[in-house]
Amino acid sequence: MSKDHNAQKTCWNCPALELRGHVDFRACGQSMRKFMTEGQAMAECKRRPELGLFDPASLTFEECPEWEEGPYGYQLRDMRVLILGIDGYLGWTLALWLGSLGFRVAGVDNFNRRRWVAEEGSHSVVPIAPMEERLRAAKEVLGIEISFREFDILDNEKLRQFIQEFQPEAIVHYAECPSAPYSMVDFQHAAYVQHNNVIGTLGLLFAMRDLAPEASLIKLGTMGEYGTPLTGRPIFEGIFPADAVLQWDGREWSLGGELTPRDPVSFYHVSKVQDTFNVYESCKYWWLRSYDVMQGVIYGVHTEQVAADPRLRTRFDVDEWFGTVINRFVAQAVVGIPLTIYGSGGQTRGFLALRDAMQCMTRLILSPPEPGQYDVVNQISGVYRVRELAETVARIAADEFGLEVEIQRLENPRVEADEHPYEVVYEKLPQQLGFEPQVTLEEEVYQMLKLLIQPSIRSRIEAIRQVILPKTRWSGLHKEMDVIERYKVRPRRVVGLGAEGGGEDDPER
């Protein structure tokens, strides 16, 4: 895997940089306001004070002894990463992943996700340990020491104290409510999600301004911020490329560098769009640096670390509020509920396996933007139609595990196009950050089925089967979705994932 992506990054990108101002040597070393685009930047290094004052552009990661070669590029020795929302599906997985790579990890959570899921009468179908036990197991099994605090990041004072204490060099912000249906339940839920997400992030930005301006913020956005433009225009990575042009009325303007349009698809997605602007402005006003990660739908249950011990497992939700589509299909397949697709099932989305998401996050952490730089990545590894995903899960379940699986089309509870063009640009992670997907959809679906089919987990799915099907309509109408059609997928060995191997000749691969 590519390790070179960040070799030529300079101290400008390093969180150990301490900018000491800009000096204009055209005029005899005149000092400028702390941050200027003109003049010569002067910096000191928090980790190597012996360097004195120097030009941050003149030292690369490759040359700096604080950055050592690692599997995902040059890695800042003992880099301090703060994960907000460390108890969640992604947060916990990332904590163990980074810890095993030698990062120093701290995390915050108030266990809201456990409460939200319980509110619906659901639970993580893969059992997860309480945090205390998780931390103990991380130390015992993987030798990872995680510094954890329980609080709500809306408590800005506590957040500030912890940032002050831990001095993070990167902050991964997973501490938002990630459910579109949850935000559409009623006014109270919509207001709650927007307040929790937007104000939590805003408070974090002010805390970073005051206490950790050099840390890079890896902020979770979502591909859902963009919507699905019906014109079929490409969905760029948040910002128009340099050669994009707007033509109107016989005239022409460059769009290069401007934020691309957002067209969120729920009040939850609106909160993410508001976050995007708040983060963007903070980078502009205060020279913070951030990646806004437009993450696709994550699926999967497996990393080496979470699989190392039952106490280290990450949560796996399949309910209508918090279950993401592939995960839900797998659970439905296991307990014999028809895989539910909405409308025609032609909705096309970007997807990413859990393990690949961890690789992406690591690469982003190791390649911080420059001070003041707001950057966006579309974090997906492939694009699929929901209908095709259902068929893939159904086939693997049938072929590899002998399960009888049906697919049913329901009325679409959402306001969205069932059939639409979808051209996503996702170039930065593979081309600039060295990301190479390691997991295929079929392999991960196979792994998920293998885990979920275990009787203990199967019974946990059975226990919540009444909350798997959608009930929350965007219209507010309280009525179960009607079934449009139910069908079976023709059995066909698409892949050979079990002991038999094979599958190389499949034309669709």
Binding site: R26, C28, Q30, S31, M32
Partner: protein, 438 residues
């Protein structure tokens, strides 16, 4: 506690040329300075090569040339790398005069290139470039007092890019705070007192025509700044002991600026310099085939093998390359005029233990032209706006009011003769005190 021993005072005016201070005094803009000029002798003095404040003040306070004190400009490159550093007081390889016991307890205020401050006998406030006030001050207990005086090491020059009027207001505010600090500290015990006004240099960079051209819309406002400086000097001098000798000086002169010439662009065009990428970000982007590069303002270094990671110039090629560079520079013309007044080779101007770190060549620009060594310049010459004034090396000034009853000391012809002059003054004071004691 009253300090003992003979006392010496030094007042600096950064960047003020000989002709300007002479005329401002004579025309009544600076009456206090004019009064002083009646009591001593005003001379022209040569600056350092290059004529930039960090080099010149380092020579003034040490009496050494850059080959000995090791400060060759505002920037340098760390050995064995392409890391651009900003050498400061910590890298100064010769002791400043106030670290000699002869000078007793000192107050050293706002001398450029003396950051970070370090323990000494007395008080020290470093001048520009000083990014952190808490590291610019000794003893550290003085920081709170300076904050109370609203003291700033340097005016925020970014305002000059927005509005010259705003810049003048900020210059005045910075000067007022500086005066408060100077007056507060001159009342404390000292044997040697040195205070430098640096706003003058800042003003002349942006407002040279306003100072020299009576028709300029900001002429009076610019002269007002010099009136304020004069008033400040007057209040300071009132508080000096009458018998104390006084030295007043600048570190370099000034003149009008018309064209900025980018020396690295010139080296690129002439084939001496190559970059590894289209838009270089730092010297780290020097390509292997490069034989020379420049640091501000026009210090040209050979890309020597063994000294820089991708350097290829061997000792045997150095002399020939220096000849080629000197010849090419002599031919450099911009907008139809000769751009280079003179090219110095290292051995002509530098001597001492640091000489191996010195530039191989230093080009001195013709009048009206300023050399710059930015990396990204797209063209050889460009308008210099908003800058309208530039340093000049041959018209700094030096004024000496000798101790009462003493003859004028030997003339200081250049900045590195100032420290010997200060020693001479201190010694002659000590001798006369001894005579009086006998």
């Amino acid at each position: 506690m009253e300090a003992k021993g003979p006392r010496l005072a030094i007042i600096g005016l950064d960047g003020v040329p000989y002709e300007l201070i002479r005329d401002l005094a004579a025309k009544g803009v600076m009456p206090m300075v004019d009064e002083l000029f009646q009591e001593g002798k005003l001379d022209k003095m040569a600056s350092s090569v290059p004529a930039v404040s960090s080099v010149a003040w380092s020579s003034i306070i040490t009496g050494e040339n850059p080959g000995t004190h090791g400060i060759f400009g505002f920037t340098d490159v760390a050995a064995g790398s392409y890391r651009l550093t900003f050498p400061n007081f910590a890298q100064l390889k010769a002791p400043p005069f106030w670290e000699e016991s002869l000078f007793g307890r000192s107050a050293i205020l706002n001398v450029p290139s003396t950051y970070p401050a370090r323990p000494m006998n007395g008080v020290h406030i470093a001048g520009f470039v000083a990014p952190d006030l808490t590291k610019a001050v000794y003893p550290p207990s003085l920081v709170d007092q300076l904050r109370a005086w609203e003291y700033e090491v340097d005016v925020d020059a970014s305002s000059a890019h927005q509005s010259l009027e705003l810049f003048l207001r900020k210059l005045n505010q910075t000067l007022d705070a500086r005066t408060r600090a100077f007056l507060g500290l001159v009342e404390r015990p000292w044997d040697t007192f040195m205070a430098v006004y640096t706003g003058t240099d800042r003003l002349l960079h942006f407002l040279w025509p306003a100072v020299t051209d009576p028709r300029h819309r900001l002429h009076e406002a610019a002269l007002d700044y010099f009136r304020r400086v004069d008033h400040s000097i007057g209040r300071l001098v009132e508080r000096l002991p009458e018998e104390a000798p006084l030295v007043m000086l600048s570190d370099h002169g000034f003149e009008a600026l018309e064209i900025q010439v980018n020396i690295n662009r010139f080296l690129l065009q002439e084939g001496f310099l190559r970059w590894r990428r289209e838009r270089p970000r730092s010297l780290n982007d020097l390509a292997e085939g490069s034989v020379a590069f420049a640091l501000d303002p026009a210090r040209i270094y050979l890309h020597r093998k063994g000294r820089y990671p991708r350097g290829t110039v061997g000792e045997d090629q150095a002399e020939k390359l220096v000849d080629q560079l000197a010849a090419a520079l002599a031919e450099l013309r911009v907008e139809g005029r000769e751009a280079v007044a003179r090219v110095y080779r290292r051995q002509e101007i530098y001597h001492g233990p640091q000489v191996d770190r010195a530039p191989d060549l230093v080009a001195i620009p013709a009048p009206g032209i300023e050399f710059k060594a930015g990396l990204e310049a797209d063209s050889l010459a460009e308008p210099a706006a908003p800058f309208t004034g530039k340093h000049r090396g041959d018209n700094a000034f030096l004024y000496v009011r000798p101790p009462e009853g003493h003859e004028q000391p030997p003339q200081a012809r250049s900045v590195q003769d100032v420290q010997p002059l200060l020693v001479w003054l201190k010694n002659s004071l000590c001798q006369s005190r001894r005579r009086n004691d006998e």
